[in-house]
Amino acid sequence: MCASVKCNIRGPALIPRMKTKHRIYYITLFSIVLLGLIATGMFQFWPHSIESSNDWNVEKRSIRDVPVVRLPADSPIPERGDLSCRMHTCFDVYRCGFNPKNKIKVYIYALKKYVDDFGVSVSNTISREYNELLMAISDSDYYTDDINRACLFVPSIDVLNQNTLRIKETAQAMAQLSRWDRGTNHLLFNMLPGGPPDYNTALDVPRDRALLAGGGFSTWTYRQGYDVSIPVYSPLSAEVDLPEKGPGPRQYFLLSSQVGLHPEYREDLEALQVKHGESVLVLDKCTNLSEGVLSVRKRCHKHQVFDYPQVLQEATFCVVLRGARLGQAVLSDVLQAGCVPVVIADSYILPFSEVLDWKRASVVVPEEKMSDVYSILQSIPQRQIEEMQRQARWFWEAYFQSIKAIALATLQIINDRIYPYAAISYEEWNDPPAVKWGSVSNPLFLPLIPPQSQGFTAIVLTYDRVESLFRVITEVSKVPSLSKLLVVWNNQNKNPPEDSLWPKIRVPLKVVRTAENKLSNRFFPYDEIETEAVLAIDDDIIMLTSDELQFGYEVWREFPDRLVGYPGRLHLWDHEMNKWKYESEWTNEVSMVLTGAAFYHKYFNYLYTYKMPGDIKNWVDAHMNCEDIAMNFLVANVTGKAVIKVTPRKKFKCPECTAIDGLSLDQTHMVERSECINKFASVFGTMPLKVVEHRADPVLYKDDFPEKLKSFPNIGSL
């Protein structure tokens, strides 16, 4: 690049001596070359965004073209699965140490067709579902094509259905995978394990240490914390669109839709039908369907024909009985229909049971209690049933709906085992979105009254009112429980007074200088704050007595998760303007306290500084107003609780009482504050503030009782 620039610099020196005709010609030529060079250079160093799009790389090939691999009859066979395998014994976690984002990397072996010595293929090359599954992994964040950086390996040998493969040869094919290493860190997906006559509950292909994501595990084959129990995918899910049906009573109380049940079970079910009549419906396959009708999509009871799976939506509970295998695809259909599955399959490990709480979506009944199933179900309160119906549908939507959902949930479970500190919580796995939205999880959920001895840290935000500040410091320092005083000096143009000029007080006094005059500096989680309780106080709040402040602290101890403050305010809905309004009059209700004088937990400082939703923080700093309203919104939103106003109303020196000379200024201020409320309510997407009609006073406040015996006598006097 540099060289080319130089030659261009020399260029113009030559040009004047040439003929004009040529000159234009050469200048044009040079400019073209120069532009070309710049463009190329830029292209070299520009991030190549075009390249990463999938279309450029994905191959368009036919499955018939996959390479064929011949397996000699004597090639090695892996050992049978080791039942004692656990993550810390059989899984090589060192391979997963590369990933900084707490995400495992998954490699997929290229697809090959395996044949034996006689050229007979070992299995179907790949099923539609397994192709989908590998595609889903490949499209996910887990995927890597770098075999050296992979933590988990997924063979492209399709073992979803054991019946479609030759066991020994499939195992041999596994063993010759390039990183097989006794199956360490290999993940196999199998939905239909076992074969006649005794149908093992886990894949029979010898697989040594490989992890098995299997449908239909029993307690005896499932290696807890190592294998993953997955659903048996129902291809009907993709074919039939069953719109969600709201919970509530349905036509049938109990329904059985499975075909090919063991005669013993069918007898039991029919006995139930005889006993309970109309509310129980036992379906079977249809014998006399006309030509061209898909028998999979029809069920019959006597001569009545029902559409399947639509009929499932007509029942509250649906039986999911074990067949030859424990895992049944009907479970997926039942969940899709929002029917509560009644699982009758002893020792069956329900899909994703490591993370899903099946108690919330299903009823598990021991086989020997099958005859009691009706009374067991009837004892469940209606509200719980509706909860289960919703939960069933949600499980289907999140984890059963598609092969992709199944694959990603499986990988997430394994990921959570390897990076447990970044694992997804019970609530994230199990709570339907509606519940996640409606609930409040208070960050300070442990009921705990902090010891009085800890005291509180007073934080005074100040700009230049030194005289008033010193008075506040002197007053606050009289409060017995004060343990430290922090002055936040928000003035960058002026230095704080010299050390010798500050009032001498009995607790440490620290001055923090800020880089910018911002209101949010008041709520910064300074390292200097060593107590849990923080008293935010303005530099002009001189009217609070020591008794009042001490009492405020005592109240905070009883409500450490709330804002405990002195002047209270209210938000109101203005029906005329159709928006929120700020109210500072003498009302019977409170929903906010001003942080010109308020106690709160220092954790809220952290939340205010780092977790404030939307642009509220910047908005507050830009408008130099409403930081207190923002704090009230934040705390109410995260805890779901109201503020506590302490002690009677006083004439406060507060924004709405000081900065005003005339009524008009006052009104401007109120309009601004109202605007804040409307702005914040829209950012939060809700109105989190809670209105209450109480305030906290000392037990004996204004009681007919000797004043000198009261703990906080000096309260409320102006």
């Binding site: 260029g11 060192y94 192709n131 005592e554």
Partner: protein, 663 residues
């Protein structure tokens, strides 16, 4: 000539530039122009097969030979699971009934007290025939005595062998189908869903009550050590994790660094406590960490975590792989304050709810088994894993968390806006007409229940009220007052004594306050407990003081759940005590609510002006109850909740509750 040469050099320069352009740009242009060829290192992805549409499904309908179902499998020999080895048919009716084998020969004091504690619990039954679970205590680690095969053994069916300490006893008989509850079972021998994993209790673990959690504040103190490591001799050592070297590895020992302090402490003072997962003995450290509020970091534990069937340990501890120490350390250092805060609080809740005493551990074990029997009416996970925990949130009351007063916020629900007044009419038995009128006048009152509990006949006439009035003929027992009557249809109960006097606006205001604190008791008259140095016991006073710890139930709002808790969870002995010394019942109710909420009650303004001095309870009552609870749950409050404008210098017209201000 000259011009030609000049032109030649110009051409040269030009062609040189062109060459450079081609060299630099050509490659990139090529890359753009040509279709990409598979290269090692380029992201390939799974191919989109041209003929993917033609692929067959993995399961062809009709292909499955489901008709050929083999008969139900017999349980695998030797191994047990819940369905195959436990007979729930014996557990019909009122849930889990437990029979405990009486001790044979001389037994230790601990053993005797544990037996007594189970016998006093609500699970206990006298007859082995009526029991659904037979409990075999195998406790005496110190005496070394081993239990022998009990009489009703029946191959261990429906038996639970409870081993609080790892038994030195060899197994003297085949466990057969018995469940085993033992401390820190190894992962390999543990049968999930059948056995119960217990915590590893130290020998001196308190039988009842137990020490509270050590956490005094929610968030970690600034400057507290990040990590504490277990020491050989049973102490803890805090480690400085500022250096990148792994602190728990022997390799780092050579460079202790200036920040590394060596300290011996019984309870660790750090944010995280690192516990090795190999030896089950390390599990005792696990409990220490839990009590101290030090988040346990378990390195590849080979033992099952206690009560893992019901407790979600991911909320209180971190199970990490010991083979990735640096990643674990980095993850701990980077953990968000929000997560640390949540984990710390959860350790304290779990410690206090399930582990702090032997009694709690045993009750939790029985509750776990009862949940298995209950099936759909078992505790939902939320009840186990958020305060106050499954021992105090009875699933017999409801299986929906939103029915309990403590989960309203979590569930996004709220209590109903109405209450039921329950008026107890004891001797002498005057119908409280004035009180009924005052209460019925409240806009929030849904119904009035009169509990007639005296020898006089029921009056035939009752005043006309706007709300339904029901009279219940009580059993003349004081504990009747807290029976969960099915006629109570609201969440809130206003418990009243016929002699109480309240005004309508006092009732209205107090009910509004209760709606903000539905898990607490909101009352008018208060009393306090105090530690009496002179007598070395707890004292009780109803004098007016600057603080209080109890509200009198003769006029108090609370959630109807506490009736269920009072009637169904208290040991019988305590309810008898309340019946014998009626003034104790207040104390007892306050104890229950405080034990559940861990918070003081709330005082609202009002109650009779010149109050009739409530008779002080029998002095020993509070001590007997405290002994039964094993600790003192009561907490003091120094505040009263008044209306916002209470006695403020503002026009009375502005005030909503002006009648409350009358002297």
């Amino acid at each position: 000539m000259q011009s030609w040469r000049r032109r030649k050099s110009l051409w040269l320069a030009l062609s040189a530039s062109w060459l450079l352009l081609v060299l630099l740009g050509g490659f990139s242009l090529l890359r753009l122009a040509l279709p990409p060829r598979p290269r090692p290192g380029a992201s390939q992805g799974w191919p989109r097969w041209l003929d993917a549409e033609l692929l067959q499904s993995f399961s062809q309908p009709g292909e499955l030979p489901e008709d050929a179902v083999s008969p139900p499998q017999a349980p695998h020999g030797g191994s047990c699971n819940w369905e195959s080895c436990f007979d729930t048919s014996k557990c019909r009716g009122d849930g889990l009934k437990v029979f405990v084998y009486p001790a044979v020969g001389t037994i230790s004091e601990t053993h005797r007290r544990i037996l007594a504690s189970i016998e006093g619990s609500r699970f206990y039954t006298f007859s082995p025939a009526g029991a659904c679970l037979l409990l075999l205590l195998s406790l005496d680690a110190q005496t070394g005595e081993c239990s022998s095969m009990p009489l009703q053994w029946n191959r261990g069916r429906n038996h639970l062998v409870l081993r609080l300490h790892p038994a030195p006893c060899p197994r003297t008989f085949q466990l057969g189908q018995a469940m085993v509850a033992e401390a820190s079972p190894t992962v390999d021998s543990f049968r999930p869903g059948f056995d119960v994993a217990l915590p590893f209790l130290p020998e001196a673990h308190p039988l009842r009550g137990g020490a509270p959690g050590q956490l005094r504040q929610h968030s970690p103190q600034p400057g507290v050590a990040l990590l504490a490591l277990e020491e050989e001799r049973g102490g803890w050592r805090t480690a400085d994790t500022g250096s990148s070297a792994c602190p728990w590895d022997g390799r780092c020992e050579q460079d202790p660094g200036p920040g590394q302090t060596q300290r011996q402490e019984t309870l660790p003072n750090a944010t995280f406590c690192l516990i090795s997962g190999h030896r089950p003995e390390a599990a005792s450290r696990f409990l220490q960490a839990l009590q101290a509020g030090c988040i346990p970091v378990l390195l590849s534990p080979r033992w099952e975590l206690p009560f893992s069937e019901v407790i979600d340990w991911t909320k209180a501890a971190i199970v990490a792989d010991e083979r990735l120490p640096l990643q674990v350390l980095a993850a701990l250092q980077e953990m968000s304050p929000a997560r640390v805060l949540a984990l710390r609080q959860q350790t304290q809740f779990l410690w206090d709810a399930y582990f702090s005493s032997v009694e709690k551990v045993i009750h939790t074990t029985l509750e776990v088994i009862q949940d298995r029997i209950f099936g759909t009416s078992a505790h939902p996970s939320l009840l186990w894993n958020s305060p106050p925990g499954a021992l105090l949130a009875l699933s017999t009351f409801s299986t929906s968390p939103q029915d309990f007063p403590f989960y309203y916020l979590q569930q996004g629900s709220r209590p109903e806006g109405r209450f039921s007044a329950l008026i107890w009419v004891g001797p002498p038995g005057q119908p409280p007409l004035k009180l009924i009128q005052a209460v019925a006048g409240s806009q929030h009152c849904a119904q009035i229940l009169v509990l007639w509990s005296n020898e006089r006949p029921l009056p035939s006439r009752w005043p006309e009220t706007a709300v339904p009035l029901t009279v219940i003929d009580g059993h003349r027992k004081v504990s009747d007052r807290f029976y969960p009557y099915s006629t109570i249809r609201t969440d809130a109960i206003l418990s009243l004594d016929a002699r109480s006097s309240l005004s309508t606006s006092e009732v209205d205001f107090a009910f509004l306050v209760w709606q903000s604190f539905p898990e607490r008791m909101v009352g008018f008259l208060t009393s306090s407990h105090f530690w009496d140095e002179a007598h070395g016991g707890w004292g009780y006073t109803a004098e007016r003081t600057n603080e209080f710890s109890m509200v009198l139930t003769t006029a108090a709002f609370y959630h109807r759940y506490y009736h269920t808790l009072f009637t169904h969870s208290l040991p019988k002995a305590l309810r008898t005590l309340a019946d014998e010394a009626p003034t104790c019942v207040d104390v007892l109710m306050n104890f229950i609510v405080a034990a559940v909420t861990k918070l003081p009650p709330i005082k609202a303004p009002g109650g009779p002006g010149p109050r009739p001095k409530p008779p002080a309870p029998a002095p020993d009552c509070i001590n007997q109850i405290a002994a039964a609870f094993g600790h003192m749950p009561l907490l003091s409050s120094r505040l009263r909740l008044d209306p916002v404008l209470f006695k403020d210098p503002v026009s009375v017209q502005r005030k909503k509750y002006r009648s409350l201000e009358k002297p």
